[in-house]
Symmetry: C2
């Protein structure tokens, strides 16, 4: 898609530090790493969010993510990693081209997960009903 920075990277019009490539997927280092080795896995075909991804391409990206995450863990000599994927602007998605972050984690990185709330009496059931109605 015109004016999509990831499409330009895929076409070679903008450089990247490549990690992996196959017929459907390109993976490269995030230029703003949360930790060193932070890698993005991107389908070559342009789709904005998870909800726009065809199932077979989604499976291909997931399989590539597993393969690359193993190499990130081993290559960066870390003991774990997060896989994060953001959808729509409110979620922090900056580039509107589906992409998966593989973020290596260090015991010393000090990164905190978002704090968790809880449901009042009956609130979980009411919440589940709203979601199930939309399934």
């Amino acid at each position: 898609m015109e004016n999509c920075i990831f499409c330009k990277i895929i076409k070679g019009e903008i450089p990247c530090t490549k990690i992996y490539e196959d017929s459907k997927v390109l993976a490269f280092l995030d230029i703003g790493p949360v930790n060193k080795g932070h890698t993005l896995v991107v389908p070559k075909e342009h789709h904005e969010t998870l909800l726009d991804m065809p199932d077979d391409l989604l499976a291909g990206v997931a399989k590539a993510t597993k393969k690359i995450a193993k190499a990130v863990k081993e290559g960066m000599k870390v003991n774990g990693f997060n896989v994060l994927q953001s959808n729509y602007r409110v979620s922090g998605q900056i580039v509107p081209h589906y992409h998966v972050h593989i973020i290596p984690r260090l015991e010393t990185d000090g990164l905190k997960h978002w704090s968790q709330g809880k449901y009042g009496d009956g609130e979980a059931e009411g919440t589940a009903e709203k979601i199930k109605k939309a399934l």
Copy 2:
């Protein structure tokens, strides 16, 4: 697996607020939601992390995650969501049974993403070499 809380939920030994179920996947509300409607998508078969997941099951979970995320977005009337998956203790994985978080996002939730660093001259290339060697 014995003593796995998610395996116990799947077997019905521990209750959950169910959102979705098929032959391979169960989805239910996280009891400690980051935002209301925060849902976990879990394969019924026990595998600890992404690196342990068979490809076909991974594809099944990804497809279910897409379907459920659409319902979370619509049912909770939110404009976006994050998909997060943690691997090994250092990453914040508490239950060692592969699971995917779908986190609805609100314009007003104030949640921040982890801050991003940058690479020095040549450092990205050296980092990529380490990962590519492990592919």
